[in-house]
Symmetry: D2
Subunit: 416 residues, 4 copies
């Protein structure tokens, strides 16, 4: 069983491991066992489950290779496997919230024991395969940090008391660059991951694709711009929507983005209910809404290749989890492409499918990405809930077209 290996700086490995693991717990500061217990919908998971599952991942895929390692809680394997059919049966996803035991305390102990064991491995020195598995475990943990925040936000939004996750001030109302469309490259380009750094299997292999004449908006769509769509009757006009989207709009009674309040002037955030900043990037919309807005605006969404080709030449700067705003903020000014990284994931016009020549990871890890290549759309760029060192230009996120609980927004594109 071979996992593709890549260069790891073993000197910093322990520090990096502990830093990321601690950050997960830091995100839980101020949350009670009750807050971390609840599953607010089948798509979401309890915070406690995220804490346990990310730990199980190291136990299963890293420590499991150590013949001397004995799991202290053998039966938890069943509870905290997410979807790896090839390593055994698992607890049904919609019932994760029923597990009041093990308690939060027991799971914290579990985290500590597994961290100690992995730490020892790292100190003893690991071969490149094990290093790769540990890195995968850390990347996986960072993904769940983001989900922990978005799942908690959804849970709190269901509570009529509208609890506040972090009682912090937001930056004042921001300024905004005028909307411009910047032409992209045309003809054959190469996309996909290259080089020694970590990447998921779905970013490979690097390959050639063809870009048609096009342009990308210089910045994200703002709340004010989306509000104009809402006020113009966007949610009542069937002709703007994909057929599946129109069905959802009617069935769910969608009238506005997920967390906007009925007054269209404020929104529920992780820092409480706040006035809507007109210049801040719109977020918490589905692909269907992104696509309808783009049609209304006489534009379209970018393809993932158009996006990546442009992003690959930019530094990874932006409003990330590290900033601890936990919300997109109004923005940076400048001449080129702005806000390509951070703030919100950007829906693209690309269904999530494999790249030509794609090979999933071997063994159970092969279930990581490939088996979800149906019915989802690619998002790019990371969000205010993504750790800065988790993202890169070739990174492919994906969600079903009706999903709204992620920090997802819109950048427009155009045919030229």
């Amino acid at each position: 069983m071979n996992v593709p290996t890549f260069a790891v700086d073993t000197k910093d490995a322990v520090a990096r491991f502990m830093r990321i693991r601690r950050q997960t717990l830091a995100l839980c500061a101020g949350l009670s066992g009750e807050d971390l217990q609840v599953q607010s919908m089948p798509d979401a998971s309890p915070g406690k489950w995220h804490l346990a599952h990310t730990t199980w991942f190291f136990e299963q895929f890293v420590l499991g290779h150590d013949p001397d390692y004995r799991s202290p809680n053998h039966e938890w394997h069943y509870l905290f496997n997410s979807y790896y059919e090839s390593v055994g049966p698992m607890h049904a996803r919609p019932q994760r919230g029923l597990l009041s035991r093990p308690t939060l305390g027991e799971i914290r102990d579990y985290r500590a024991r597994v961290e100690e064991a992995v730490g020892e491995l790292l100190v003893r020195g690991v071969n490149s395969e094990l290093a790769a598995r540990i890195e995968l475990g850390l990347q996986h943990e960072q993904q769940h940090q983001e989900l922990l925040l978005t799942d908690l936000k959804h849970l709190f939004s269901c509570n009529p008391l509208q609890p506040v996750y972090r009682d912090i001030a937001m930056p004042g109302e921001g300024r905004i660059a005028p909307l411009r469309f910047l032409p992209g490259r045309q003809g054959p380009v190469d996309i996909g991951h290259e080089g020694d750094g970590f990447a998921y299997d779905n970013e490979t292999p690097r390959h050639t694709t063809w870009l048609s004449a096009h342009a990308l908006a210089n910045r994200l769509v703002t709340n004010a711009e989306y509000l104009a769509f809402v006020r113009d009757g966007g949610y009542q006009e069937a002709g703007l929507w994909l057929s599946d989207g129109w069905t959802v709009v009617q069935r769910e009674g969608w009238q506005r983005p997920l967390y906007w309040q009925e007054d269209l002037a404020s929104e529920f955030t992780l820092t409480g209910v706040r006035p809507l900043d007109p210049h801040a990037p719109l977020c918490h919309i589905s692909y269907f809404e992104a696509d309808a807005f783009a049609r209304w605006a006489g534009a379209r969404l970018p393809t993932e290749a158009e996006w990546e080709d442009a992003a690959a030449r930019l530094p990874v700067h932006g409003n990330f989890q590290d900033n601890a705003h936990f919300h997109p903020i109004a923005g940076s000014l400048g001449d080129g492409l702005l806000q390509m990284f951070g703030d919100v994931w950007e829906w693209t016009a690309s269904p999530y499918v494999s790249y030509p020549g794609f090979k999933p990871l071997p063994g159970a890890l092969g279930e990581y990405n490939g088996k979800f290549m149906n019915g989802q759309w690619v998002l790019r760029g990371g969000s205010c809930a993504t750790p800065r060192d988790h993202i890169r230009a070739s990174y492919r996120n994906f969600f079903p077209p009706h999903a709204r609980w992620q920090f997802a927004g819109i950048r427009l594109g155009q045919d030229r």
Copy 2:
């Protein structure tokens, strides 16, 4: 607004109030905030919700009459109203488990504050209407004590770790009286509540009904007897079942009582997984199963009038919550009717409808019982989760015919 009044011994009122309220918390000893947070199915409620709702009941129906009382948590009214449409809108029942806030600690404080306020009222002295409302609140609290236990049992049963609620020894395997049928009275009899003590509106008015020639089994159906039904193919034989019951059996794949393990030799209990005591009363079956078993046995279920007329002449003895077994136990020997009270609620052949001349309580309290008179069947006698001083011969419990998570069992009856 008049609530029917009855004699209250005001001297003991404070003691009784505090005793019952403390017992609710005592039942929660050893449970974490997480255990009390989860709602395992729409029919069940989180323990935390039970703690809050029973407190809200006193606030709404007792303290609400005090013009000086100010609720410290005005918006909780919405969260902890169960189903009283006439006092305002309420949080959707299936979403009770989403309320991670208020926290368990806040709800304990809420309980303490309301208890103090009611205690002061009692010390100052209450008129008979207020006394009646306080008594109703206590009876209501006792009902929720039982639900707290059955809901928790269901939650723990969903957890593959099969947590233990109380780690106590059960009595050894019991002895059993031979099954006999004892003839009941025939002709006109009076049933329904009489006298000064507390009763729910649905037990009134006392009225005449007519009993046909019949007999009642001297004791409850045992696990061994029900096992014979299972082994005889009872769950595969359509002819034994009501049509609606057969539909449920097939849709849900029922093969045995709710908490019996697949080996038919052990069962999940609040004290852990235990060997099935052959002589202990069967429990956790639905009306459909009770009815099918009776048909298989060549008998029928008793009507509630047959049951009440027989029970009214017996003392209220039995295995109740007070015994802290939290499970039915094998039983008492003797010549007459045994196990009429406690151990398990007994399904009757009587749909839950109003007595002739029934008048619901006035105002919002009128929603207490009357509006549920559709599609449910009457159960009698209380269970091992019922407080002893909560039950009486005229007490009418009711559940839908598919419900299995209550401590419900079978006494057979016969036409003569």
Copy 3:
């Protein structure tokens, strides 16, 4: 295998058999194969299926006893068994409408062949058991005549073209007796079938029950009276409804009786869309609506025993299928109880359960009535779609509380 026997006038047997069978076809006159093909909801059946199923009933339960009889269509047995688990598996009820084959022509031929075979049996002479089975088949056929009409009405109501079943004039606007409450008997009374005539098993045994002091309305509730309830906000007032009923009202958006048009001034009938006759009996309401209306009116529904004891002393007169109005009509005047038979089935306050000492029919026929004794309410008196010679005072019809597509209405009762 014994079916309870009763006196049959064998001389008229053939004539009666053919008359009832022909009436079924007469009801289909003017309907196309397409009209008789469609199943508009799972509760309804296609007309073609009614034609075949009533024929299968004779084949299964009458001809099946003749060792010489060979079914020409062996595999149809599976298709046209309704719910008799003990005679074999059956086609799923909600898929009856998928059977475009056998064609209507083939089913007419099937009817003719079976009629010929049963006719020959009758001419040769039948023993009392076979006579009883034939009579049961005819009673069964008459039940399906009524369903054929109500199922067709539902189908046509789903068609935006609002087809007309019979293009006939209705009687002009009728007159109406003032509403009065007439006292019923109090104390022990006997109800249930007695005598030699045909009755279903569920009407037996005749037995004693006890009537409390009560009165019955002298006539049915009219459209005008129900309209007052609608205009008074009856469908918006939770306090008037059973809890289950309120759930249905909100889920289904009920605002008025099933076939009333939005203008509250006209209704869809089998004779087309007609102005609402204010004095005609209300119909096409559920038990939930009947119960809520009675509560609003400060009354209650009669029990089935109250109804039967009163009806048993009246002749069976009324507006039946034989009148070919296919709709209730405004009514008879007079001093006593009016409209007890015909026009609309009257919802009672009695859940459908067995009488004391009830014994189902032997064998497969035992599935006829007894297995439906859960979750339904008794209706009495027959309707404008019932054949006159099908009904009697002891007749017990039953439907679930949400059913609205039958001709069902309201007579009020009162405690005294």
Copy 4:
């Protein structure tokens, strides 16, 4: 309002119009009004509805432009609009089967009247826009001819009597070319419609895309090859399936292709239940099954660009509706790519999305294709139910990944 125009041979226009319209009716020969009435699932439509809807299409989009034209059945507009939101509300799709009126006879008359009116238009001479609309109507009619057959097949498959649509002999067991992989072109290629002939908007614009190194199988996957997958436990091995596919396999209990019988030796066809021809092309599988089979076989599905680039150089030969086999047949031998057209639609690895620069048709016709670009996969090549003159290399069909009732099969592809 402009529809893209293209060269039409007006001389043959009337003949072509009548030929295609007559063919639709010819496909209904031998079917009763009942057969054409039933809707066997929400995805399917009644035959009668297909007959009416294709006629409505001409009335709406062709005759609607004639100010003198008066629809004889104004209210049918509502009934027979399929999904064109911009021309008005429509009858709910799952309720198409409830319309027993208008009758088949009335719809035949409707067809005749509209045909007469369109025929007159054509004789008088039409401008290029109207000619384009008529051609679109004919192409649309041909699509519905195919659906009429697949919907009828589904209906008959639900009938335990397994009716036969056409009682004809199938060709004997066929021979088969050995499976070989033929390399395709690599680098930039142009795909999409070009030239004067008719094409749907979704085939345009012609544009450049990039092909990676690849090969295509020389022929379709056979029944024998798929049987090996079934026998190898393909339906039990989660690792072979997309996650969504595995969910469907388990929920629906899929064990084999839709119409294969349980014996794995015969299948339900439009010509009756027939032995499975081992060499005939597999059909009636979903995208999920195609994808799983390809993974099991160590291959993958072709992309639509790979398929089209190869097909564009081949003549449009194959087993089409015109052959009147109504089933795929074992095949042609030869050296190159075989069976590219006809027999079965070939699932591709391409989600159905717009081509770069795609512009939907103007006005209501813009709803024809574009709004379905979510959650579906492209199929290529036509089937045994497709008219020969309806298909071309650039033709893009699309269905959701779970759809199995179309004649859809598999051609394998490979990375090189």
